[in-house]
């Protein structure tokens, strides 16, 4: 059943699919993301944040939605407020843009971003961000 020709054909097909995979992806451009805030406010250990930010965010998200705890620690909103520049109109830096803080890495590692289906990808208005209430 499984003839040599078929095997060769499949091998060629596989090789075609893999073509180009050896190329090194261009390093992510973090300049825009870091322009506003160089370091993560919640931890100095950048690799820890890179590795586990989703766990921090997920934990906090449940605390916020279900328990009403809206502190700034590990707050998704605060990541955006600090790391995404406030631009207007057409210039807005969208999450679909590779220079957007989250997308610099997410595009690089090829992981789909689901957050912005519901959350805005823009920082809050200045006055609202400054408003008292949460600490």
């Amino acid at each position: 059943m499984f003839g040599k020709t078929k095997f060769m054909l499949m091998l060629i097909a596989l090789a075609t699919m893999l073509y180009g995979c050896g190329d090194v992806a261009p390093e992510p451009d973090e300049s825009v993301a870091k322009a506003k805030a160089e370091h993560c406010a919640i931890s100095d250990d950048e690799s820890e944040v890179r590795k586990n930010h989703m766990n921090y965010l997920k934990h906090k998200r449940d605390r916020t939605v279900h328990d009403g705890i809206r502190t700034k620690d590990h707050s998704f909103k605060e990541c955006i407020n600090c790391h995404v520049p406030k631009l207007e109109g057409e210039n807005k830096l969208r999450h679909t843009d590779e220079k957007h803080f989250c997308s610099t890495c997410h595009t690089y590692v090829g992981v789909k971003l689901d957050c912005f289906e519901c959350h805005t990808d823009q920082p809050e208005a200045q006055d609202a961000a400054k408003a008292e209430g949460v600490k």
Binding site: R61, R63, V65, H66, D67, G68, I69, R70, T71, K77, I80, N81, R94, F116, E117, C118, H119, T120, D121, Q122, P123, E124, A128, G133, V134, K135
Partner: protein
Amino acid sequence: MSKISHTADQYRRKFLTGIAGAAAAITIAPGVLLRQVEAAPKAADAAVTDSVRWGMLVITSKLTDGGDKVVQACKKEHGWGDEKHSSTEQQTQWVRKVKVTEKLTKHSFELPVMCQHCETAPCEDVCPTGASFKRADGIVLVDKHLCIGCRYCMMACPYKARSLVHEALQDQKAYSPRGMGTVESCNMCVHRVDEGKKPACVEAEPQAMIFGDLNDADSDISKTLQKFGGKQIRADLGLNTGVRYHGI
């Protein structure tokens, strides 16, 4: 307030002045207004508890326009209802103004209808993933991280209070995330309540709406309700709603 009397006429007069008195206390005296913001907001890092049950009372006769301002304030606060591609039937609607005319008597009134924040919420019961839930303090919410968009809650809600977002959105309010394929409804401005503020609609119509803790017998809302009563829409379902109306 007039003396207690046995004649229906005097009873009615007492009743009406009573309502006016309660409402006046809210609007006229600033001291009362401050007290109305319930017993010190919870600490920012403390979880909500069931010692509080948030509720709202709408005095329909005191609404300036039957609820249009309420709808506008909600829209502005949460940014719903201007979806570009959706048809009118597909637009989301967190709160709407309903006009009711009784068929026999022709008595007519208007009221804003939104999520009634039921104690035993049908949406919470039917939700397969637990995305529809009631917070400890009685506010009914959708956890959009868990919502799969099955719309069973929309089938189950007796108040038609819920909407599915039919298209992709951007530039949502940072404090009120909304997104395509998930269900949403009035959240009693939970982000404001957690900061000790009142919902946006209550601020828009302060003379007609009272927000407060139904568990606290000394809160304005409890005192007003105790004195004058407040009806639930479809009280026959026994859902013990957190939103009550006077004048329906």
